[in-house]
């Protein structure tokens, strides 16, 4: 890899997505307004129901992050392109962040709604297992050191873990499938929910890009310092 390669490689990822940041910031204000003022008060759950406008988009994006991680991991296994690996790691990390949101807001909501912090309910359980798998992924990637073996191990874990969740879900659903699913959201609630989802998607892609940038730059740094150590003898 010569100097120019390094330059172009780092330039491509150094660009801070200004537009996205502005969009995300505006979206935040909008989300606050929508969730706290615009959305009608729900009758049975009252204020606690508003948690759900954050909870649900986070859950979706958590899943999307993990699926993206699995997809990029598969590509990494096939191509050995370190960029795919960086993308996989970035999406797993962002997915995990949203997973933490889901797993903290979820119990708070459950406590207000059902009077318990945790319920062995299919979605909760599936989420928890998925979260565990990707926490393992993250732990391995953070503490295993940066070498090809660790990357491959993580990639395999992600690829095996994501479809595995299908089985966990089906199994838990059949085991504890006493969950009423029919809900009707009022139109205003729908509006709030979907706008929140959109805003969270913007936030998600922004975070993934920022994270990806960090990972690629870290790799550039190690490549550069390797080069320096080589030139320096």
């Amino acid at each position: 890899m010569n100097h120019k390669d390094l330059e172009s490689q780092s330039n491509a990822s150094t660009k801070i997505p200004i537009l996205w940041i502005i969009l995300g910031a505006l979206g935040m204000f909008l989300a606050h307004y929508l969730v706290f003022i615009y959305a009608p008060m729900e009758t049975t759950m009252r204020a606690a129901q508003r948690i759900f406008y954050f909870h649900l988009p986070s859950a979706w994006l958590c899943y999307i992050g993990f699926i993206m991680c699995a997809g990029w991991s598969l590509r990494y296994l096939m191509t050995q392109n370190p960029k795919h690996d960086a993308l996989a790691l970035a999406s797993a990390e962002v997915g995990l962040t949203f997973g933490v949101i889901v797993l903290t807001t979820g119990p708070l909501w459950a406590r207000a709604a059902w009077g318990v912090w945790w319920k062995w309910e299919p979605r909760l359980t599936t989420m928890a297992i998925l979260f565990l798998i990707f926490t393992c992924y993250w732990v391995i990637r953070s503490f295993g050191g940066d070498n090809a073996g660790v990357r491959r191990f993580g990639a395999v874990l992600a690829v095996l873990g994501a479809p595995n969740i299908f089985f966990v879900h089906v199994a838990v659903t059949r085991w504890r499938g006493d969950h009423p699913n029919n809900i009707g959201l009022e139109p205003e609630m729908r509006v709030v929910l979907y706008s929140c989802l959109l805003i969270f998607i913007i936030l998600f892609s922004l975070l993934v890009r920022l994270r990806y940038r960090v990972h690629t730059e870290e790799r550039t740094v190690s490549a550069l310092s390797r080069r320096l150590s080589r030139i320096g003898g």
């Binding site: 890899m1 940066d146 070498n147 090809a148 190690s222 310092s225 390797r226 150590s229 080589r230 003898g233």
Partner: protein, 248 residues
């Protein structure tokens, strides 16, 4: 080496290997010929083992490539080219819970390298014959875990030679061997060389190395320091001189 018209069997082009920020091997360009013995020399940490590991497909190069008989050694082609490579590493790579005979049998099955002219019944005799060549026939049916370092080394060598590889990579093959053992190993190597195999060995035993090597490749801190042709008639200290001259 006089017969330079011979074919190139193994080639390294810009071969580089980095571990983290440390370079073990830097842009190595070398060609090895059929039927030659090349000695790898250099102080500890010079990259000898790394080079052998790369050539054996055990590790993947960071940059550069390896050509085996003109074919690029990649992840895809490695599966097919592995049969052509014999490797003896620091570790003996034998199963302690199996006897010497069973170890060889397992690898013969794995490589599917039974001589075509032999019937199933003669396989056993053939394997014993292979063991005989490394002087292990008396211990053929003893568990390998009870072997001394020298015996394990012989068994490892027999295993590596079993599929008649065209490239033989040896990392410190003489460790733990007595004089007679070294003699025996040298004979085996010369036989393989006569068959047309390329032998690359790293060793600290300069005297033995000089006796069987055609060329000496000297590495220092991952870089090629010198590639010298050794003449049969040279006196015993010649290699040592070369080595010291290059390294210091």
């Amino acid at each position: 080496m006089s017969e330079r018209t011979q074919q190139v069997s193994l080639q390294a082009q810009g071969l580089t290997k980095a571990f983290g920020e440390h370079y073990a091997l830097i842009e190595l360009d070398v060609a090895w010929y059929q039927g030659e013995v090349c000695a790898l020399l250099g102080p500890n940490g010079a990259g000898k083992s790394t080079l052998l590991n790369l050539l054996s497909t055990l590790q993947a190069a960071t940059e550069g490539e390896i050509l085996l008989k003109g074919k690029k050694l990649t992840r895809q082609s490695a599966a097919e080219l592995r049969k052509e490579i014999g490797f003896v590493g620091h570790q003996t790579m034998i199963y302690g819970a199996l006897t010497a005979f069973e170890n060889l049998e397992f690898f013969a099955e794995l490589y599917d390298c039974w001589p075509a002219e032999l019937s199933q019944k003669e396989h056993q005799a053939w394997l014993l014959d292979q063991l005989e060549q490394v002087g292990l026939k008396p211990a053929a049916h003893r568990l390998a875990s009870g072997f001394s370092r020298g015996m394990s080394q012989r068994l490892t060598l027999a295993r590596a030679l079993l599929p008649k590889p065209s490239v033989l990579l040896l990392d410190e093959p003489f460790t733990g061997l007595d004089r007679a053992g070294i003699q025996q190993v040298c004979e085996l190597l010369i036989k393989a060389k006569a068959r047309g195999a390329t032998i690359i060995l790293s060793s600290h035993d300069l005297e033995t190395t000089q006796a069987i090597s055609d060329r000496a490749l000297i590495l220092k801190a991952g870089r090629l320091q010198g590639l010298h042709t050794l003449d049969v008639g040279q006196d015993k200290g010649a290699l040592l001189e070369l080595y010291q001259g290059s390294v210091n």
